[in-house]
């Protein structure tokens, strides 16, 4: 078609606009097809080329992250990253956001977030054994934020508990930034025998695609794009299309069991979950990855409601569905497994070969041999979305933002009260989650700096190995300097994992940002990715997966940049419970790592005194790595040796809330106070510089000289005992009061039921 004709055509044909496609994008579609797309084709492009599915604004930046290591079996790009943990066992991990749905309906939004991430994991052949849920909501003083938190936590528990996957950790951040845009990130980890690993890939012309699970309804149509009802012919639309998806953990549980059984029996060639963009996505992605085509019979798809159009069926985001590619000879056996698990299974598509140009076509047919509603190169949907190098610009007031002068000049009349008011016990959250299932949980939430699980699971040979995992984010650090803040976030997460004796193995990230059309947001993203890349490189932690969530804004304000990371690590031998947060009477308190007297960027300066400017200390990644290795080695010895060396009785990393909060948490965990006398001033008490660990020991001299031998700073700062937390000249608090302030904070705010 001549260029001028295309231009004319685009300006005449307005169908693409309500679907959220730009003129240039529509032009690309016409060029790919060499003709005007049908309605079904256009709808499929609009969902597949949406930001959510195509990463069109972030892809060029994500390429800078390090992704390789010997033990990485599958890196970014598949449904989940997969890491070899030895002895024929692998783990699959992934993190995803479900932010916008959780604002609209917190219970179902969070619940379906859990459902979605689980499917990403078991689609790789892994049995999900752990979830973590980093959450970000407005302040507890805000009634709507309380309602959202209540619904989100009930939703995660409601789905996770029932589906039978424990939620073993997470984190909670309260900040104004999230008042009208809560963030719900969900991490999942699964275990698998390496030889059960499968990819979301179709192959073999003549093979069949079986749709497993729930019936297709009008759920979340166009959830991934701004598909408005005006794009449809039947215009009474709107009310018929509830965009809220309802999760069914019972269906998902049976789906997990059925899929793992199919994979164990080697009955499937490839398998893929249905998530954003529904069938359009699952069919085009599996075909594109396998370099084949596919004929989809849209009439064959079992429906929950009458009168659904082909567009609705292809783009519906109904939950709890999987697409399995099988050979024709396996049909009977597959249907038998599904029947036993009461899973509906229907053949909806056939794998086809390539055309004379080597191109595999995704065709949507109205019944077998029926009208062709769509016929597009499968790869063009999955891989040919436009890539944008969006404009970036640093905030004009960057210099002011970075200036820590104000924060470091702050003084307060009562540091004891300041410290007490910063204590928050997230137990209110994790008490509502099954965090013990599979009896793997060695360190439950709240017990240590990272969660520690036995590396085991149904069908996995038991071993003495342990898996540590920590999810971390600190938007306040990133708000002023996204690069430095993200470096510190990664560093903190790696140190948390090391503090359980594990060696960090891999990282996944969830990048929650504002509107990518705002140049400042793109700058934040780019800086954040650079910071993550630097830290991961220096700490030798590959990035094996991630997720980008844009358009997090409320009332026109972008949220603070919120890169969430989850680091996992491995510990080889666990004979005893390793030391964790807490100490024993008579211990000495040793501060390992760099001293810092910088209150800038701290929660103390920000939440208590309203100063948001200033940045935390830059992490020296070489020293940080040495610290991680040293701490990990000490704890590992305590866990593994027949007679533990008894060098470390307890430990706690210092991060959010600083040394003060870390000391308080050690006191509360053990029910024993301490007296610390080497803290220079309140700035050192509240500094959030991350390369520091508190260690409780009976042999401070030995510990300190061992640390120094590794080039680390270390000093004794106090002793353990009594029923008060005392920091000379700064803090004097009764343990009882500390405990009450810590435990009651969320409980009192939330009560029993929150209203809208």
């Amino acid at each position: 078609m001549p260029l001028t004709d295309i231009t004319q055509l685009i300006s005449d044909d307005r169908r693409h606009l309500p679907l959220g496609l730009l003129d240039e994008e529509y032009r690309s579609i016409i060029e790919i097809l060499g003709r005007v797309p049908s309605d079904v084709e256009l709808a499929m492009y609009s969902v597949m080329w949406s930001e959510h599915c195509s990463y069109k604004s972030s892809r060029i930046h994500l390429g800078r992250l390090p992704t390789k290591a010997k033990h990485v079996l599958v890196g970014p790009g598949e449904n989940a990253g997969v890491i070899d943990v030895g002895d024929g066992v692998a783990v699959a991990l992934r993190i995803e956001s479900h932010n916008h749905p959780s604002f609209i309906e917190p219970y179902q939004g969070a619940a379906t977030g859990v459902g979605g991430i689980l499917r990403d994991i078991f689609t790789m052949g892994a049995r999900p054994i752990a979830l973590m849920d980093p959450l970000f909501v407005g302040p507890l003083e805000d009634a709507h934020s309380r309602y959202l938190l209540d619904g989100i936590v009930r939703g995660i528990g409601g789905y996770g508990n029932s589906v039978g996957v424990p939620t073993v950790g997470g984190q909670i951040t309260f900040d104004r930034s999230y008042e009208r845009n809560p963030l719900v990130n969900v991490f999942c980890l699964g275990v698998l025998p390496v030889d059960r690993l499968v990819l979301g890939q179709a192959s073999g012309a003549g093979n069949l695609c079986v749709l497993l699970g729930s019936r297709t309804g009008r759920d979340g149509i166009g959830g991934v794009s701004v598909l408005a009802s005006a794009g449809f012919r039947d215009d009474e639309g709107g009310s018929k299309r509830p965009s809220v998806q309802v999760g069914d953990p019972y269906e998902e549980k049976r789906l997990i069991e059925a899929c793992l059984e199919l994979l164990d029996a080697k009955l499937v060639v490839g398998i893929q979950d249905l998530g954003g963009a529904g069938l359009a996505c699952a069919t085009s992605e599996t075909a594109a990855r396998g370099g084949v085509g596919m004929d989809v019979d849209v009439r064959a798809v079992p429906r929950r409601e009458p009168g659904m159009s082909a567009i609705e069926v292809m783009t519906s985001e109904s939950q709890e569905r999987m697409l399995a590619i099988i050979t024709p000879s396996a049909v009977d056996q597959v249907l038998e497994v599904c029947r036993r698990w009461e899973i509906e299974a229907t053949i909806v598509a056939t794998v086809t070969g390539v055309d004379e140009n080597g191109i595999g076509h995704l065709r949507v047919l109205d019944g077998p041999g029926g009208a062709v509603l769509a016929d597009v190169p499968a790869k063009s949907l999955a891989d040919d979305a436009p890539l944008y190098d969006r404009p970036m610009v640093a905030p004009p007031d960057l210099a002011e933002r970075l200036d820590g002068g104000l924060a470091n000049a702050l003084v307060s009349p009562d540091y004891s009260e300041d410290l007490a008011s910063m204590l928050v016990d997230p137990a209110w959250i994790y008490r509502q989650y099954d965090h013990q299932l599979f009896v793997n949980t060695i360190f439950a939430p709240g017990e240590a700096d990272a969660t520690l699980l036995r590396l085991a699971g149904p069908g996995i040979e038991r071993s003495q190995k342990g898996l540590a995992m920590s999810s971390d984010a600190n938007p306040a650090w990133c708000a002023t300097d996204p690069r430095r803040g993200t470096r510190a976030t990664v560093a903190e997460s790696a140190l948390n994992v090391s503090a359980t004796g594990a060696t960090p193995l891999a990282l996944v990230n969830c990048l929650n940002f504002g509107n990518p059309e705002h140049p400042q947001v793109m700058w934040e993203l780019s800086e954040s990715i650079d910071g993550m890349a630097e830290a991961c490189d220096a700490l030798a932690i590959p990035v094996v997966g991630g997720n980008v969530s844009f358009y997090n804004e409320s009332a026109g304000r972008d949220i603070d940049p919120t890169p969430t990371v989850a680091v996992i690590g491995l510990i080889d031998i666990i004979k005893h419970r390793p030391p964790s947060i807490g100490w024993r009477d008579g211990d000495f308190v040793v501060l390992l790592g760099e001293r810092s007297a910088n209150a800038a960027g701290s929660r103390w300066a920000r939440d208590l005194h309203g100063i948001r400017s200033g940045q935390i200390d830059e992490v020296n990644l070489v020293i940080h790595r040495a610290l991680c290795e040293f701490v990990s080695a000490c704890v590992r010895d305590e866990a593994a040796l027949e007679i533990a060396p008894d060098l470390v009785h307890g430990l706690h990393t210092i991060g959010d809330g600083g040394l003060g909060v870390a000391l308080a948490e050690m006191c509360i965990a053990s029910g024993i106070g301490c007296a610390v006398d080497q803290i220079v001033d309140h700035r050192e008490l509240f500094s959030e510089s991350v390369s520091r660990v508190l260690v409780a020991t009976l042999c401070p001299t030995e510990l300190i000289s061992a640390a120094r031998a590794k080039g680390l700073r270390a000093m004794e700062i106090g002793t353990v005992g009594g029923d008060r937390l005392i920091v000379s000249d700064l803090v004097d608090l009764k343990l009882e009061d500390l405990g009450a302030r810590f435990h009651d904070r969320i409980d009192e705010a939330l009560g029993e039921v929150a209203s809208h």
Binding site: R241, R304, S318, V753
Partner: protein
Amino acid sequence: MNFDVSVLVRGVEGIADPEGRTVERALGALGFAGASSVRVGKVINLCLSADDTESARVEVEEMCDRLLANPVIERYEITIVPTKTS
């Protein structure tokens, strides 16, 4: 005046009802083959003291909007009768 209030809360049309579907399958398995379109909702009964039926209704509607029902995915139906005094 005292009123007996009953509020029926049900999922909006078209939204998935996993509980209803599971009950439907269970009824089928028990041999009740004629049952279909099973949906499960909530019923809330309460006593309310109010000036008159009209103001009772206004108050109950507000209760529903704020607490008893989730407007995003549920619809409610209110019945109000004066309490019989015996």
